[in-house]
Subunit: 311 residues, 2 copies
C-alpha cells in the first residue's frame, strides 16, 4: 500500500516536468448553484489530462530500465497520450496497445506524440494478452494505468496541490472525482483525507458503468460486464484491486449520472464556461447539475479535455 | 478625456456584479515559444466576453434614467449579449440593434438573455439610423459599444486587474490586445501605462481590417471600407474617435495577422490548450505563433469565447 511519503516523492519527481494545474474558482457556477465551486483543471496538463502525473511518476521510478528497454502500456486514450509524451520528452521508446474501437482522433494524437501504436481486439482479455506479449518479447517496462502504487502515488499529487492551493478553505470541502480504474480517486482520497480529515471525497461514474457502487456494496472488485457510455474513458468494467483497497477505506460516497446529464454538463462547459472538457471530465458537473451534491463547498476534478470538436 | 479616477470609479461600480477574470499562466505556450505568457481570460465573464465591463459601467452610470426608459445598443454580438445580461440583472428593458448578417447563434443568445432584438441592414449607416430612430422614439438610453468615456473606463478596469494580479512581474510586459472599435485597447493602454510605464501595449487586427495601422499612419480615424474576416467581432471599418485619441498617445505598435493564422490560433486554443476562444480573441496568439512578437514577457488579452462549436 502507498504512504504519504510516496506521494510527496512522486510530487518531487514529476515537478521537473509538470506544473501544478490551475484551480479555477467558478463564479458562473456559484451564481447558478449557490455553492462555492472550484474546478481543478487537469485539462491544462500536457496531453490534456491528469494522466501525465502517473505517466511521469511511473517512468521516472524505473528510469534506468526504461531508458534501456523502452516502455509499453495499454490505454483507452488519455494514458496512451501521456505515456507517449513523457517517453518522448525523456528520450525513450514507447509502445501503446489500444483497442480497435478507440477513436481515430486519440490514436492519431498518440502517434503524433511519437509512440508506436499496436491495435488489439476490443475485449479486456485481448488487450491484456497483447500487452503482456509485447512486454515478454521486447523486455519493455509495463506501465500500469491504474493498478499500481506508482500510478496511485502519481495521481495523489493532485491531492497535495489542493492542500496547498486552498489552505484552510479546503476544510469541509467535498471533492468530486470521475472513476474508472480507480487510481485517481484512490490517490486523491488518500492524500487529501490523511492531511485534512474534514474533507469528503465522492466518486462519480456513468450509470452505465456503476462498477464502484457495486464493488463497494460487495466489498470486492465486481466486473460489471460490457457497456457503452459517452464518457468513453470511464468504460472499464472492473476497477483495479490496488486502488479499490484504498477506496474502500477512504472514499465517502458514489454518485451515478445519466448519459443525458453527462452531455448537458459537457455542453455547459463548452457553451457557457468556455472550457473544453471531455464527457468523462464533466461527470462531476453532471452530478452537481442534477442536484445530487448536498455540500456547500465543492471541488470538481476536471480530469481531461480530449474531445474532438469543430467550429 | 478619461482619467485614472474614472477607471477606479468604474472598477468600484462594476465590482458588485463582476469578478476579476483569471490570469492563466500558460506553461504550454512557454514551452512552445520560450517566453513567459499569460492569458487574461475575459471569456470567463458572464456572456463570455470583456463587454460585460463596459455594459455594466454604462448602465450603472445612467442607472436612474435607464431604469425609467430602458436602454438601446447596437452590436455585432458580444456587446449585445453583455447589455442584455446586465439589463436583465438590473431589471430594465434592453433593445439591441443587430445586422441581418449577424450569426443566428449570437442573435439567439441575445434573445435568450431577455433582450428585444431589432435587425437592420448590413451597412454601418443603416445600423446607426435604426439605433438613433429607436432612441428618439422610445427615450431609451443609448449605450456606446466603444466610442464613449463610460465604455473606455469600463474597458480600462481590465488594466487595473493586471496591475494587481502581476505586481512587479508586470514590469517590461507586452500586452497584446485585439482591436476593432478601439475602446478596449484605449482603456487598457491608458490604465496600465499610466501606472506602469515599463509596459508596452500592441494592438492586433486581422490584415483584412487594418484600420488601426492606417489610422495611426494618417493621424486620424480612417474608414477602410467593407471587408470580411473570420474574426467577426473585429470587423468595424472605422475606429471610434474617442478611443483613437488615447490610442495615438499610448499604444506602441500594431501587428496585422492573416486569416489562416487566426484559424490556427483558434484551433490551438481548442485542441491543445482546451480553452474556447473566439477567433477575434485568438488574434494575440496568432501574432505570437507567427513570431512577430519580440518581447520576453507577454500578456494575451483573450477578449471573448463566443463561437458555435460542436463535438
Amino acid at each position: 500500500m502507498i504512504t504519504l511519503e510516496d506521494i510527496y516523492a512522486a510530487e518531487k519527481r514529476i515537478s521537473t516536468y509538470l506544473n501544478p494545474t490551475p484551480l479555477l474558482y467558478s463564479h458562473l457556477l456559484e451564481q447558478k448553484l449557490n455553492k462555492k465551486i472550484w474546478l481543478k483543471l487537469e485539462s491544462q496538463l500536457p496531453t490534456g489530462s491528469f494522466k501525465a502525473r502517473p505517466a511521469f511518476n511511473n517512468i521516472l521510478m524505473h528510469e534506468k530500465e526504461a531508458k534501456k528497454h523502452g516502455v509499453v502500456a495499454f490505454s483507452a486514450g488519455n494514458f496512451a497520450q501521456a505515456v507517449a509524451y513523457a517517453a518522448n520528452l525523456l528520450g525513450l521508446s514507447a509502445t501503446i496497445v489500444m483497442r480497435e474501437n478507440t477513436s481515430p482522433y486519440k490514436i492519431q494524437r498518440t502517434k503524433n506524440l511519437g509512440a508506436e501504436v499496436v491495435l488489439c481486439g476490443n475485449s479486456y482479455e485481448e488487450r491484456t494478452e497483447t500487452t503482456l506479449g509485447i512486454q515478454k518479447e521486447t523486455g519493455k517496462i509495463l506501465l500500469e494505468p491504474y493498478n499500481s502504487p506508482e500510478t496511485i502515488a502519481g495521481d495523489g499529487t493532485l491531492g497535495l496541490e489542493l492542500i496547498k492551493q486552498l489552505g484552510k478553505e479546503l476544510d469541509q470541502c467535498t471533492i468530486l472525482v470521475p472513476v474508472s480504474g480507480g487510481g485517481l480517486i484512490a490517490g486523491i482520497a488518500f492524500a487529501v483525507k490523511t492531511l485534512n480529515p474534514t474533507c469528503q471525497v465522492i466518486g462519480i461514474q456513468p450509470k452505465a458503468n456503476g462498477s464502484l457502487a457495486k464493488s463497494l456494496q460487495a466489498g470486492l472488485c465486481v466486473n460489471v460486464g460490457s457497456f457503452t457510455t459517452i464518457a468513453d474513458v470511464l468504460s472499464l468494467p472492473q476497477m483495479g484491486e490496488q486502488p479499490f483497497e484504498i477506496i474502500k477505506k477512504w472514499v465517502d460516497d458514489v454518485i451515478l449520472v445519466e448519459e443525458d446529464e453527462i452531455k448537458t454538463a459537457t455542453h455547459y462547459f463548452l457553451e457557457q464556461h468556455k472550457l473544453v472538457v471531455e464527457p468523462s471530465g464533466a461527470v462531476p458537473l453532471a452530478a452537481l447539475l442534477s442536484d445530487r451534491v448536498k455540500a456547500e463547498k465543492v471541488i470538481c476534478v476536471i480530469s481531461g479535455g480530449n474531445i474532438n470538436i469543430t467550429w
